[in-house]
Symmetry: C2
């Protein structure tokens, strides 16, 4: 039976997971690949510390990446270092050396994806990245192959487990963001530097990768509007709940024939939607295609084993192809469609909105605020004016119908300029359908 | 560019959908296949009636299946007649003639799958059936490829849209089953003969196909316990809701190292689970793998276009392989694992249970009923004894902890033998996790 040799760059959490699965599921992987999948080399600065579940001394460790990148017998390089450099250079070198690539590196693909896909195509090699978006969920494969007969029109999802865990905790326990973040860090659900997760940057990376694939167009990371969850309050969450909504950090992409909108921000969704039940560290991606209609994928978006599951699926697919003598083909990689889509600027997107206005308890406040909204063609679907608590401002909570973002931003500026407004108006976008 | 020729058996609802998509998405399909996908021949008894969205007179119609099965230029035969014969014979003939197969025929695969997979393997041809389970959802592909690194331990799902539609309507409107069925038939959501859908048979077919693939073992349709939704009452649904549950018709499979249980029956699931939000004609399949942990797929399980989406995805995948000179490989088809799993008889499965006991309003009824349960080692998690409505029996509603099915069946027989019981005890299984 043919032997397909794998080299791992990195024996961190995911690398260790991959090494474990390659050993524990060796027979099944061999059957499914029609070839023996051999871990030939592992490059990691740390060649000696124990990794749970592995006997490091029995692994083909080296501190030198050449053992992976330049060993002619290595067929597949699995890049699990993360980050931009030197991961990018290693992948380019591996491709130049005739190796296929499997990676989980969302930050790299989101910023240098096009360059890497082109190089892989030029070298006639496969570059697989199932693990880069939504962990264990076979999402990339589904979009690439299962939905080939579709023009994807919409996709949105919860693609960052840390921020979803935090929002779920805030929802269940009514705690403030900063307190829940601290607890999450203590439990290992959030990093010491949680910026990428709570500011929506990680979600934007994943959206870039998904949108490139699904809409077959060029997507620049900097074109994605990004807003994190740090300003969400327990009060917003409670009001959302009263009105039958949940707050999630959503990555959203909507396409027309000629344009594409891309954004990441906290979003209220109806509690009746399957996505509202996605809690904790779980991820979910909703897609709509012009033939298949609505689909949703749900599962663990991160974690050692779910991520290793996807990395190994990619390894097996490539091994199967190599063993069967099947060359890489251009369609293996994200292709650009005939017509590229123009980015729809954020001001032009439509959304429904939740507004929390803090006003002095004076006559005509409501008239002034609703007057501004009306002048910007923003119509109000529902309004709650809460009883004033002692000397505090009067909270006026509104849900609007669909309106244009640009109009909303202008209206918010005018509202916040009013003398009767005592704190910046809070706004959260709403996806009602 | 290479031309890959497709022959359709059947221009019914799904066939027409496929013909439409092959025309309307021709360019994208060509790009993704790396080959031109040509509709070469369509065989259907009815060569003339209009089909919405198609110009039948411009299609390569014939009433003779030879035009598809025996035309040497046809590469892929798409079987959409349905039913067992002559579909089975046609597929065997097509394989013998060197053609690859795409089918949506769940009844055929559930009863003759092993024979067809073997023949396809023997002929070195691909046999794809994404459309046979869960319509547009790329489920088969996900299990076959995306989850190769997993031993699947559990799968369960809502895989029949008609019965889910009926249960959703009963839930939303409080109506009786027979009335909702009649309305569903009037709207085209249920067939004139709805037996396969409401009795769980269609769900059992899909479970057979999924389980064969996911657990890599031999599964006989007759080994699947099947119970439909015809006895579910609005009262059961209302009580479930009170206790925080929804009732769904679930297809369930659970594996250990050596055994496999397979069943289709109405099941109460917690309203907090993503699956409880799956309503109307939507399907959802939950899977748990030993590496990836929990996953769920959701989408339209039936309907012209969702089904056509999956058929076309299979066509493109096969076309891509043919065009790239890639042979069919054994792993393309469900393989039997090294160790086949023994069927766990229904009496040995464990479940939690909902019981609705109708008793006379007499002393010691509760003691007698709970005594029987206790003797069979069935412990009660919660109990509601409702106020007796005039001269009716007293409803005693119980939720049990996990118990063995055999013990429950014995207990039910004993309970129903009691003089104080006035109607057969209703029982619905509960999946709480």
């Amino acid at each position: 039976m043919k032997e397909i040799k794998v080299g791992l760059l990195g024996l961190g959490t995911v690398g260790a997971g991959v090494a474990k699965v390659l050993a524990s599921h060796r027979e099944e992987l061999e059957e499914k690949a029609g070839a023996s999948v051999v871990l030939q080399a592992i490059a990691d600065k740390d060649t000696t510390s124990p990794r749970k579940g592995l006997k490091v001394s029995e692994l083909p460790m080296s501190a030198d990446v050449s053992s992976v990148l330049d060993d002619p017998s290595v067929d597949i390089v699995v890049e699990l270092f993360g980050g931009i450099e030197p991961a990018r250079s290693f992948i380019m070198r591996a491709l130049a050396n005739g190796k296929h690539i499997v990676t989980a590196n969302k930050a790299l693909l989101a910023t240098h994806g096009e360059e890497l896909y082109s190089e892989a195509r030029r070298c006639g090699r496969m570059l697989a990245f199932e693990a880069a978006v939504a962990g264990g969920i076979p999402l990339i494969r589904s979009v690439k192959e299962g939905l080939v007969a579709n023009r994807i029109t919409t996709l949105y999802g919860i693609v960052n487990g840390t921020s979803n865990y935090i929002l779920s905790k805030m929802t269940d326990e009514g705690q403030e963001f900063s307190r829940v973040l601290a607890e999450a860090q203590a439990k290992g659900y959030a990093e010491a530097d949680p910026t990428y997760d709570v500011e929506g940057i990680d979600s934007a990376h994943k959206l870039q990768i998904l949108a490139t694939l699904a809409f077959r167009t060029s997507v620049r990371l900097e074109d994605i509007y990004v807003e994190g969850i740090t300003k969400i309050t327990p009060e917003d969450i409670g009001l959302a709940r009263e009105m039958g909504f949940r707050i999630k950090l959503l990555a959203i992409a909507k396409a027309t024939d000629s344009s594409l909108e891309l954004r990441v921000h906290p979003t209220m969704i109806p509690e009746s939607s399957p996505m509202s039940a996605v809690s904790g560290v779980f991820n979910a991606v909703f897609l709509s295609g012009d033939v298949v209609n609505d689909l949703m994928f749900y599962g663990r978006g991160a974690g050692q084993m779910p991520t290793a599951s996807s990395v190994c699926a990619d390894i097996v697919e490539i091994a199967r192809r190599i063993a069967a003598g099947q060359a890489a083909v251009p369609q293996d990689l994200p292709v650009l469609g005939r017509k590229l889509l123009a980015l729809k600027p954020m001001e032009e997107i439509s959304s429904a909105y939740y507004l929390y206005v803090s006003a002095l308890d004076q006559p005509s406040v409501l008239a002034q605020v609703t007057g501004i909204l009306g002048r910007h063609e923003i119509s109000i679907a529902s309004l709650i004016q809460k009883v004033r608590q002692r000397a505090k401002a009067v909270p006026v909570v509104m849900m609007t119908h669909e309106a244009q973002e640009g109009a909303m931003q202008k209206a918010l500026r005018e509202i916040d300029d009013l003398r009767v407004i005592v704190a910046p108006t809070r706004m959260i976008r709403v996806e009602a359908s």
